[in-house]
C-alpha cells in the first residue's frame, strides 16, 4: 500500500518529519518495506491540527506522536492483514 505523509509547510511546522521517522521506524521493525511504500506529499489541502497522512486514497488528519501507534495499527496493520 502507498502511504503519503504531507510535508507541506503547515504540516512541516506541526512535526511531519517526526511522523515520517516514526513511519520509517515502524515499517522497518515489522519488516514491511515490501508492502508499504512511503512517500512525501505536498499539502493535501487539509491544513488542520497535526499532520495529514494519506493511506491509499484516504486522508487522515491530525496525526501526532501520541496517536501515531493507534493510527498505524488501524490504517496500515489492519488493512495489510
Amino acid at each position: 500500500m502507498k502511504v503519503y505523509v504531507c510535508v507541506g509547510s503547515s504540516c512541516h511546522l506541526r512535526g511531519s518529519y517526526d511522523i515520517i521517522n516514526l513511519m520509517k521506524k515502524n515499517i522497518a521493525e515489522r519488516q514491511l518495506e515490501d508492502k508499504v511504500e512511503l512517500s512525501a506529499a505536498f499539502c493535501l489541502g487539509k491544513c488542520t491540527d497535526g499532520v495529514s497522512v494519506k493511506f491509499e486514497d484516504e486522508v487522515v488528519c491530525g496525526v501526532n506522536k501520541e496517536n501515531f501507534d493507534d493510527i498505524f495499527s488501524e490504517y496500515v496493520l489492519n488493512r495489510l492483514n
Partner: protein, 490 residues
C-alpha cells in the same frame, strides 16, 4: 501599519521605476483577458486602456505610445518565437540614445594644468582660443584617462545605459537601425539591461499565458496539482503585505501548493559540499546566468561547474518524484531562469518560470486583495537554504554542509563573487590557475538574487530581510531540513 495594510490601493504597489510600472500594467491587462478568455478580441483594446487621453506622456504622440504598447503585449504573450533568447530589444521603443563616448562638458574651466592633455597617449586633446579642452574623436580610443585626471570632473562618458549595464559586452548599436542589439552568442539573459533601460526598450519574454493555461487546466487541483516553487528573495519583496499573505494569494490564484526553492538550496548545498570534497575545485551551479557565462566565455572551466541541478530544479525533481502528474512553476527575481527551464536537464522538472513582477500582475489581474488575506505558512528550508538569495549565502551554506557531513578537515576557501564583473575576475584567475580559492560562488546580479531584474524592489534593506527570513526557519540545520528527502539520513 495595520490600517495601511487594510487598504490595498494601487499607490501601495511598489515599483522602483515607472518603466516597471508600465510593464506591470501590460502584464496585468493581458492576464486579465487571458483569464477571461477574451485576449484575442481585446488585443487592440489593451493599448487604449493603458494609453488614455489625447496627450502623449511618454513619446512623441499617443499613436507611437500605443504601437509600443502593442510590442509590449507581444512580449507579455511570449515574444518572438524565432528568437531563442528570452531577452529581446523592442526596436521601436529604443530611443537610440547618443553613443558619443568621452566628451568635454561645459564644466571645463580652461585651466592651465592640462592634465588631460598630458595623460592622453593618443594626443587626442587640443585646446581652443578660450583654453577649453576638446577631444579629437578620430584619435580617441575611449580609455577614460582624461576623465579620471580632470580636477573638475568636466569630461563625461556618454554611453547607452544598456551598454553600460551589460558588463559582458553583449549589447551594441545596430549600425543600420541605430537601435540596441543583443549578441545572443554572448548574452547570458541576466536581465541587467532590462532593468536599466530608461525607456523600457529591452524586455524579458513573459510566459504568463502558459501559467494561466496550467491554472485553468488544473482547475483548483482537480485534474492535476499545480505547484509554485518560490525563491527565497520573495522575503524582501511585497513590502506592503506579509509574506504569509502573499503565500495565500498564490494559492488563491489557483496553485495547489507553495514550496520553498530554498529547500532545494539545502539539498544542493549538501550535495555540492560532497562534490567539492571529491573534486577539489568547483564553481556553483545555482545562478543560470553565471553558469551560462562560464560555458560561453570560459569553456576550459566547464567541467568544474558543479554537476548539481540548481535549487529550483532540485526541489522540482523531488516534487515530481512524489507527484509525477504535478506541474511546477518557479517564481523568482530572475530572467535567466526562463532560459534555464528550457534546458534538457531541467525541462522535465520545471514547467514554467515567472518573475515577481509577473506574479504581482497575475495576483492583481484576479483582484486578489493581498493585504486583506489571512496568512499562510511557508516553511521547509533551513536558515542556510534561505540565505542563498543574497551574495555570500551559498558559501556559508556549503561551509555548514561540510561541517554537518563531518568533512571539517576539508580546507574550504570560498570566493563570493558579487555581480558578473567579480565573477569574470575570479574565473579569469581560475583559468590561469592563480586563484587562491577552491570554491567560486558566482552570482550574476549585484547583491545576489535580491538584485535580480524581476524584483519589484531593489533596496539596501533587502539583504537584512533575507537574513531575518532565514532566521525564522523552523529547521536549524541543513541535515534536518533535508532528512525526509532521502538525503543526509540521520
Amino acid at each position: 501599519m495595520a490600517e495601511q495594510n487594510a487598504k490595498p490601493t494601487a499607490k501601495l504597489r511598489k515599483f522602483d521605476t515607472k518603466v516597471q510600472y508600465l510593464k506591470y500594467k501590460v502584464l496585468r491587462e493581458v492576464a486579465r483577458h487571458a483569464f477571461d478568455d477574451t485576449l484575442v478580441e481585446s488585443f487592440n483594446d489593451i493599448a487604449k486602456v493603458i494609453v488614455t487621453g489625447r496627450k502623449p506622456t511618454m513619446r512623441c504622440c499617443i499613436y507611437k505610445e500605443r504601437a509600443i504598447i502593442g510590442e509590449r503585449i507581444k512580449m507579455a504573450t511570449g515574444g518572438d518565437r524565432n528568437n531563442p533568447n528570452v531577452i529581446e530589444v523592442i526596436d521601436i521603443a529604443c530611443d537610440e540614445c547618443p553613443v558619443g563616448g568621452y566628451i568635454v562638458t561645459d564644466n571645463c574651466r580652461g585651466c592651465i594644468a592640462h592634465r588631460c592633455e598630458d595623460v592622453c597617449k593618443r594626443g587626442a586633446i587640443t585646446f581652443d582660443e578660450n583654453q577649453k579642452a576638446h577631444i579629437d574623436k578620430e584619435k580617441c580610443v575611449n580609455c577614460g584617462k582624461c576623465a579620471e585626471v580632470c580636477p573638475y570632473s568636466a569630461i563625461a562618458n556618454y554611453r547607452r545605459p544598456c551598454e553600460r549595464a551589460c558588463k559582458i559586452k553583449a549589447i551594441s548599436m545596430n549600425e543600420e537601425t541605430k537601435a540596441a542589439q543583443i549578441d545572443n552568442s554572448k548574452c547570458i539573459s541576466c536581465g541587467a539591461c532590462v532593468y536599466q533601460c530608461p525607456f523600457g526598450a529591452i524586455d524579458d519574454k513573459s510566459y504568463i499565458l502558459d501559467v494561466i493555461k496550467m491554472i485553468k487546466e488544473s482547475d483548483g487541483g482537480k485534474n492535476f496539482r499545480l505547484y509554485a516553487v518560490v525563491a527565497p528573495s520573495i522575503s524582501s519583496q511585497f513590502s506592503y503585505a506579509k509574506l504569509g499573505q502573499v503565500i495565500t494569494a498564490i494559492k488563491r490564484l489557483g496553485f495547489s501548493s507553495v514550496v520553498e526553492a530554498a529547500w532545494g538550496a539545502d539539498m544542493v548545498a549538501y550535495k555540492e559540499a560532497a562534490e567539492l570534497v571529491e573534486k577539489g575545485f568547483l564553481t556553483s551551479s545555482c545562478c543560470p546566468a553565471f553558469v551560462s557565462y562560464v560555458q560561453k566565455q570560459f569553456p576550459t572551466l566547464r567541467d568544474n561547474i558543479s554537476h548539481n541541478l540548481s535549487p529550483m530544479a532540485e526541489i522540482a525533481r523531488y516534487i515530481k518524484e512524489n507527484d509525477p502528474t504535478g506541474k511546477i512553476v518557479f517564481i523568482g527575481p530572475c530572467t535567466a531562469k526562463k532560459m534555464e527551464v528550457k534546458l534538457d536537464t531541467v525541462k522535465p522538472y520545471v514547467d514554467s518560470a515567472l518573475t515577481f513582477e509577473e506574479l504581482q500582475a497575475l495576483i492583481d489581474s484576479r483582484d486578489i486583495p493581498i493585504a486583506e488575506l489571512e496568512e499562510g505558512v511557508l516553511d521547509n528550508a533551513s536558515y542556510y537554504g534561505r540565505i542563498f538569495a543574497r551574495c555570500g549565502g551559498l558559501s556559508d551554506a556549503v561551509a555548514e554542509a561540510l561541517k554537518e557531513q563531518g568533512a571539517e578537515d576539508f580546507d574550504l576557501k570560498p570566493i563570493s563573487c558579487d555581480g558578473i564583473e567579480e565573477c569574470r575576475m575570479a574565473l579569469l584567475k581560475a583559468s590561469k590557475n592563480v586563484l587562491p580559492c577552491n570554491f567560486i560562488e558566482g552570482m550574476a546580479c549585484t547583491g545576489g538574487c535580491i538584485g535580480g531584474p524581476g524584483c519589484l524592489t531593489h533596496g539596501p534593506k533587502d539583504k537584512n530581510q533575507v537574513d531575518a527570513y532565514g532566521k525564522q526557519a523552523f529547521e536549524k540545520s541543513i541535515t534536518d531540513a533535508i532528512s525526509v528527502t532521502g538525503l543526509g539520513n540521520k
